[in-house]
């Protein structure tokens, strides 16, 4: 028993959780780390970019307004680092604003899908039986409706606002996640640790929250990071059609749309800068998601 008394006073050994293992694996993946850095830089640009320029996103630079094509290009002298947009506003400030809104849409869409989809799918899968059938048929029905059509209707009927856009994205984004979460739950719920919890008398909501959801999170997080770019793309498409984010707000999609409209006048910077941010962010999200998947994939261990 002598060793036991020593141990009682000894320091408690820290364990290495599966999350810590995954983090170590993630940081060994160079592409993923570079993507993470890019994403951080883009987020910093969205948050603090406005401080780098004396121009606001609403001001029209009347001095250059007359000849945007020749005078409105990117220049340090005029402090329009990215040039002007077709209406004579500072494109740098506009891109900052667009980045904020596009990232927000991507993140809100992914968040809704993570929270709603995971809980919905885990509940359906864990309880099973008739409830599972009803809940998943509802998902099937919602999926069968052409969402682009519904979204366009929503925006036309209730007016084009960013709130309606969130509602529309919220309505569709969780469906896939619910299916994925349910599938994973089905494989987890027959594990013995869940049986042990049932045998102990842990209540069903607690089993779902404490035992099922943490074991789903690996898959869910990976899917969510891949969902962010698809949400951004989705919003861009809607904005490109002219239905999404409305002036004076803007987004990557709306800026690209504006830029594309001016292409034939030779003001390529109006297309180039938003497109550049759009592309690097999407690439970064995809590589980041891939890196996360490799890090969290238990088969790789």
């Amino acid at each position: 028993m002598a060793h036991v008394t020593n141990v009682e006073t000894a320091e408690v050994i820290k364990g290495r959780s599966l999350w810590q293992d995954a983090r170590a694996r993630f940081f060994r993946n160079k592409a993923a780390v570079v993507s993470l850095v890019i994403l951080i830089l883009v987020s910093l640009f969205a948050l603090f970019g406005g401080m780098l320029t004396p121009w606001s996103n609403e001001e029209i630079d009347w001095n250059l307004m007359g000849d945007v094509r020749t005078l409105g290009g990117p220049s340090f002298e005029t402090k329009h680092y990215f040039g002007l947009d077709p209406l004579g506003r500072d494109l740098f400030a506009r891109v900052v604003q667009g980045t904020q809104i596009s990232l927000m849409i991507g993140i809100v869409g992914a968040l809704i899908s993570v929270v709603v989809g995971t809980l919905y799918g885990a509940t359906a899968g864990f309880i099973g039986g008739r409830l599972d059938n009803i809940m998943m048929r509802i998902v099937d029905i919602l999926m069968a409706i052409p969402y682009m059509f519904v979204l366009i209707l929503l925006l036309v009927v209730f007016g084009r606002s960013i709130f309606m856009l969130f509602v529309g994205i919220g309505l569709i984004s969780w469906l896939d996640m619910a299916r994925i979460a349910r599938g994973q739950t089905l494989s987890i719920k027959n594990k013995e640790f869940v049986e042990a919890a049932i045998a102990t008398g842990v209540s069903t909501p607690k089993i779902i929250i404490r035992h099922i959801v943490p074991n789903l999170l690996g898959v869910v997080i990976v899917y969510a990071t891949l969902l962010v770019p698809s949400m951004i793309m989705f919003e861009s498409f809607i904005s490109f059609l002219g239905l999404g984010v409305q002036e004076p707000l803007t987004s990557w999609g709306a800026l690209i749309n504006e830029g594309a409209g001016q292409m034939r006048y030779g003001t390529l910077w109006m297309l180039g800068f938003p497109l550049f941010f759009f592309l690097i962010s999407l690439f970064a999200f995809f590589f980041f998601g891939d890196g996360l998947r490799d890090a969290l994939d238990p088969k790789d261990r």
Partner: protein, 328 residues
């Protein structure tokens, strides 16, 4: 056996599962798979009841039915006088802290995202939510120490332990509520032999110390012999024999038990070569369509016409041995 009242008394327990036949329409009646078909037994306080039988004979299902983890078709499970099967959810919850379970796969029975401290504390927090954090911590340390896991490991995760250690953690989780019954569902089948002995000896020590009853499910007959006071032999969801462990191994009554015992390897090559293994013909019949009368008759060397007609009841054969057979 003294005249003590039993801790657990199971009468005519039936667990049937609905199986949809292949290509069934939604309205066709499902077939009944009789996993457990009328089991009776008593468990005395402080006793170890071994349950043996080949795979698929309903051992685990029986255990899960007692814990009400699978629904039962009929029968009663009397726990200190209360019928567990007719209790509501709340009533059952109250009794869950008196009975715990240990599982076959040690690693799979621990949540990989929780530290072992959290895992072991979970039953305590579930049944006594008011217990203070420091109290929980001391209890967890005590119980981990008891099963031979250093208490300073509480912040480690299950994948950092070996199979034997994980099983000890599983035992710690079962012990923290100081239950009266632990159901062990093949607790050592997944461990290697030297670790098996350690885990079994630990279970026996704890049993003696705490006056626990154990239901010990296994398919390794020598392990069961070592730990059990009485042994119950299941065949196709039916009890074919219950008897004192010594008696069962010395003089098995039922022809099925005889075949089982004769197949136990003897750790002496000479004796093993001389030992005549009683081979049974044919395979285990399907529990979807069990034979009429005695379920064992299709493979029994002694079967007669009466065996096909009526199901033999469990009858007392002296020496605390009960056998269900018409012939013997």
């Amino acid at each position: 056996m003294n005249a003590q009242s039993p801790l657990l008394s199971v009468r005519d327990l039936k667990v049937w599962f609905d199986i949809k036949p292949k290509g069934a329409m939604p309205w066709t009646a499902p077939e009944k798979l009789k996993a457990v078909d009328g089991v009776d037994f008593d468990l005395m306080p402080g006793e170890t009841l071994g349950i043996v039988g080949e795979s698929g004979c309903g051992k685990s299902t029986l255990a899960r039915a007692i814990m009400r983890m699978v629904p039962s078709e009929a029968g009663t499970v009397l726990w200190l006088g209360d019928d567990l099967l007719s209790l509501n959810k709340q009533g059952m919850r109250e009794h869950r802290k008196e009975m715990q379970m240990i599982f076959q796969d040690p690693l799979a029975s621990l949540n990989p995202r929780m530290t072992i401290g959290q895992i072991v504390a979970e039953p305590l927090k579930t049944h006594y939510p008011d217990v203070s954090k420091s109290e929980v911590k001391t209890r967890v340390r005590e119980v981990l120490d008891r099963v031979g896991i250093l208490p300073n490991m509480i912040n480690r995760y299950p994948h950092e332990f070996s199979g034997g250690q994980c099983q000890r953690i599983g035992i710690a989780r079962a012990l923290i509520l100081k239950p009266q019954l632990i159901i062990c569902d093949e607790p050592v089948s997944a461990l290697d032999v030297s670790i098996q002995a350690q885990v079994i000896n630990l279970l026996m020590d704890i049993q003696e110390e705490m006056g626990l009853s154990l239901i010990f499910i296994a398919h390794d007959l020598s392990v069961v012999k070592h730990i059990s006071t009485r042994v119950m032999v299941l065949y196709l969801g039916n009890v074919v024999e219950i008897s004192e462990a010594e008696q069962l191994y010395r003089a098995p009554g039922h022809p099925y038990t005889q075949a089982l015992i004769s197949a136990v390897p003897i750790p002496d090559p000479k004796a093993h070569a001389e030992n005549e293994v009683m081979l049974l013909d044919a395979d285990l019949p399907s529990p979807l369509n069990p034979p009429s009368g005695c379920v064992f008759r299709t493979r029994c060397p002694l079967a007669r016409s009466v065996c096909a007609e009526t199901k033999p009841p469990l009858t007392d054969r002296g020496n605390a041995q009960q056998v269900a057979c018409h012939v013997i």
